[in-house]
Subunit: 340 residues, 2 copies
DNA sequence: TTGTAAGCGTTATCAT
DNA sequence: ATGATAACGCTTACAA
């Protein structure tokens, strides 16, 4: 590994001059600067960021913890973050909590030891308490993505979950549905809460009484969605929902399976609308009506927010950014069946 | 940030003793050790990995560059790598080349400055030449994933592309297809070459003459797949393939679109088999017959291989690991239409 | 404008 | 078994 000292002797100057020529060119005479730059080039010099970070007490590193890189939503978040980080010259250390608080704790600790300058995180239920014991990390600017941990004064970039859910359910109501079921996620997660709230609001506004029998909460993954949908769809035909609103795309996949296993037809016998747009939602037939989230933008803007926080002196008050969702009406929603 | 010196004074020992107590406990008296450990615990001490890496000249960092984290195959690779890395106490620095050689070059450089101990990469067409100028990186153990750059003596973990493709095409032939088209990727990528080769071999073995008119190469993404499929399917009915073999899942999505736009029915009018298994391939109807790649295992084993290389003294000879694919026969393949 | 020297937090070496 | 010291590669006062 060629280091500053090597460049220095090659250019016949002191190490400090090399350092200056490279990082503060205006402080060094043009002639010297060129000599140094050439030597550096010739030797293939690359600054050692470890040493630089240690000395400057700045790592130019950002930490990112997502729930599950295999989920397109999270992968897209991560891409947005990375693109924004790159734009500002930051590196991103990416981890998966796999939605497991213990893993999250481990990674937070690991991350801390690399002295990141800021943290972006899709929190789990325990994020708040994990952060408490991490003295260094918790004093960093932190931005939460997608959902919040409820930590006081924290920054967050989220989707308009309530509104998005309301629009989806309003769409169903407008089509004439009254018995609308919801496949909701685990209530500990704020997105699940908010989407449920949107569902409630839409019903209330339309004067449809809220019936908790029509809400099935469960594990937020595909299996959970399958089980929850089954529970709702197995009710006697006269009480069975004519439409289902699903809280995320993974549960939606389970819901589609359940519907198929029961030999129901979309949208003739059951209308379906889900949060999250995915490749498969577009490709199945009928294509799914969905509430699309601006995943890339959430990641990108969160990172921009973090960088701007880093560039200011003082910690700003906690700021929450809410990004609009878009209801994409495709072919899984229609008027309810006549028998109804 | 609490450092070793703080722990040292709290435990009334020297910094060296703290360092030893933490990293080589057997070298320090039990009593002292406990005092140190307690002090460290109490103060919430976390070693500064920057300093440690600088001093030890070992970063415990691995670099990973994938083509596109948004593609499920690459995301899964990354997950496998990270899980294996974690198992051995390594951290992974993850980048996306977006399949662009220029981005790859930038990230390789950035990566190098953090002194990773090894590199895992899904190479682009220029990886080989990029590595040439990176003196530090190119002397590291490097493992290529999914495809190879053709660098001499390099290690790689790949799928059995030739065999996988051959099985897929043999399956079509067994069903009675003779006019089988291939939607191939860009020939610069070794996976595309190999899958094409498998296609050839299957035809040859069955005594079906190879017809280059039935092979459409193109950009490996969805648009490329759409265009290529269109080209093949728009031929006059008597020359139109009765089955299509597609080189990867993104092009397969484009192919499905093309088939639908032409109002052809799968599998009655056109059989379809593609490389890569994805969520949508399982969920569309009919579900797609695919050649599934062990993406997670490729990532995991590649990382294991890298770690074992790091733990040996000398550089081993370049070693290539080929992992088996699995032909998953679902419902997009059937006997060709009678008119044929 | 350039050089000298100290220090970032660790760990390895050498004493004791 | 423990402590003093130097060194990893870089930046930055301060001095010249």
């Amino acid at each position: 590994m060629v280091k500053i000292a090597d460049v220095a002797s090659a250019a016949k100057v002191s190490p400090s001059t090399v350092s200056r020529a490279l990082t503060k060119p205006e402080l060094v005479a043009r002639e010297t600067r060129e000599r140094v730059l050439q030597a550096a080039q010739r030797l293939g010099y690359q600054p050692n960021k470890l040493a630089r970070s240690l000395r400057k007490q700045k790592s130019h590193l950002l930490g990112l913890i997502v729930g599950d890189i295999l989920a397109p939503f999270h992968a897209t978040l991560a891409k947005g973050v990375q693109d924004a980080a790159e734009k500002h010259g930051y590196m991103v250390f990416l981890f998966n909590s796999d939605e497991q608080p213990e893993k999250e704790a481990r990674y937070l600790q690991e991350l801390q030891s690399h002295l990141p300058e800021g943290l972006l995180i899709v929190p789990t239920a325990k994020t708040r308490q994990h952060l408490q014991s991490l003295q260094y990390l918790r004093n960093l600017p932190i931005i939460e993505l997608d959902r919040t941990s409820g930590s006081p004064g924290i920054h967050a970039v989220l989707a308009e979950n309530v509104l998005g859910a309301r629009e989806a359910v309003e769409h169903l109501i407008q089509l004439g549905h009254r018995r609308i079921g919801m496949v909701a996620g685990e209530p500990v997660i704020t997105t699940a809460q908010e989407r449920l709230e949107g569902y409630r609001q839409a019903l209330e506004q339309a004067g449809v009484p809220f019936d908790e029998q029509l809400v099935a909460c469960g594990y937020h993954r595909e299996e959970g969605g399958y089980a929850a949908a089954m529970e709702l769809l197995k009710r006697p035909p006269s009480q069975r929902p004519t439409a289902l609103f699903v809280g995320n795309s993974e549960m939606a996949a389970g819901t589609v399976q359940a519907i198929r296993d029961l030999d129901l037809r979309i949208p003739e016998q059951i209308s379906l609308v889900s949060f999250d747009d995915t490749r498969w939602a577009q490709l199945i037939e009928p294509a799914l009506t969905v509430v699309a989230q601006p995943a890339y933008e959430i990641g990108f803007l969160a990172c921009e927010m973090l960088v701007s926080l880093l560039q200011q002196r003082k910690q700003m008050q906690g700021h929450t950014l809410r990004l609009k969702t878009r209801l994409l009406i495709r072919h899984s929603t229609a008027r309810p069946c006549e028998r109804d």
